[in-house]
Symmetry: C2
Subunit: 305 residues, 2 copies
Amino acid sequence: MVDKLLPSWNNTPTRQTLLDFIDRVTSRTGPEYVHPRDRVVTFDNDGTLWCEKPAYPQFVFAMQRLKRLAADNPALTKELAYEAAVENNLDYFESLYPDNLPALMKIVFDTHAGMSQTEFERLAREFLSDTNHPRFGLPYEQCIYQPMVEFIQLLQANNFKVFIATAGGMSFVRTISEEIYGVARENVIGSSIAFEIGRENDQLFLQRKPGLIEPLDEGQGKPINIELHVGRPPMLAAGNSNGDIEMLEFAESSGSLFLNMLLHHDDAEREYAYDEGAERALQLADDRGWTVVSMKEDFNKVFDF
Amino acid sequence: MVDKLLPSWNNTPTRQTLLDFIDRVTSRTGPEYVHPRDRVVTFDNDGTLWCEKPAYPQFVFAMQRLKRLAADNPALTKELAYEAAVENNLDYFESLYPDNLPALMKIVFDTHAGMSQTEFERLAREFLSDTNHPRFGLPYEQCIYQPMVEFIQLLQANNFKVFIATAGGMSFVRTISEEIYGVARENVIGSSIAFEIGRENDQLFLQRKPGLIEPLDEGQGKPINIELHVGRPPMLAAGNSNGDIEMLEFAESSGSLFLNMLLHHDDAEREYAYDEGAERALQLADDRGWTVVSMKEDFNKVFDF
């Protein structure tokens, strides 16, 4: 029976750690039983649930948009971001991360400012299902880690409340979270553009306006946004980078049993191998005994294709 | 069978409207069937779920705190808000509403700035269970409308996702939403103070800091905050005042079957009778055919005591 759980995971100690955690939390007669009300879990998205290399999908989406805007108005290419987009210069955008994340997110969000939320959702949905990942040759929406999806499903089946806490755009991820992860829109927490109310034909609608909502959902912003959206710390938090550290510390601060996971990208053959941007997180995992998931050792399958 | 539903409602056309709505939305073979994923409903809190007269419970809570702070530091009474609190001058606070809601909420929130979120939750919980309503002589947490609680439960039993969208403090209402309404913390949307990360004994915690998160959850802020928290418009919205109009318009804009409800306070005997602050909402309900619930005619019982 247990053998059939998490089929895309190898039968390693990591897999056993996950199964044991669920078992301890849900055993009604055990000392570590937790009421379903308190079973909050939070997953980062980029690099934890879907592939973030060679570029965050949302950057590619923003670049497409910048290109289109520049094609309509060539004068825009005087601006660095537009110029970089037209030249497919991903390095420019990557160079802004992580130190200039606010500037970067402002570019990402401003490219879709001024339109209705409905129109944005249509464009985001279209991008994620129609644009292929440059290496895997399949739409971005398919470049998700099958073992992590199975873990989410197993948690949900055990009455855990699964949230996504992404530094990326909340609306962007929500357009497909239900379909690809089985995570309801309202359970997606993330960075967001500001909104204003528009009116058309006497009907109210939501319009995206320039400007970000503070704090961005990265680093210290993750516990803050989790508090705003959920009102409880997670008892399980999963991430893959330095930007997830405070979210994992938030789980650790809950005072009860917790499980912190870091997905380690060590599989250049099936995905990518990189520690950049995760150095501090990996060090902390070592210091504090957080669970490090090795993509190479623990996943018997990375993607479902 | 149907007769046993909503037992605290009189058998009026209003009750039938509510039952019919649920029936139409959930009948799998019917033309108006809506997938549970999309069954978002939003309830205002003050005056819609709990009694807001003679003063919003949160004002009373803030006044208690202002008094305590002034007792510790008498120099504070030079400030209007402290002076008003010490003199039990509720009119001062009420006079700020609705035109100076931001100033008012700033007073309300700042009184609990600088403390940890955990400590705030303890104080709020204590207030709501220990402080008696001046007229009903029972704790504020019991001054909730039993027919509305039954309606929430009926919606949940039919797989609607029930959210609260309150102009009041999100954290304040969350401390008891599960217990008194059966609404999960994460389903409470509201106005909020800002947070920052504190550290103690190498543990991270959330600290409340002065300042509000924009927009407040009132008027145009309600659709915006519902979008941020839920990502979908409600198909049923219930309120009682002008501050709920945009939320009801948001439901109307969803393009599908919707039900908008306004609770009319017309029962001075069992509760209070007042139209102030609801004039425009009542007019719109009349113009657009929104369902007006008469506390006097439609409720056979107001409170569960």
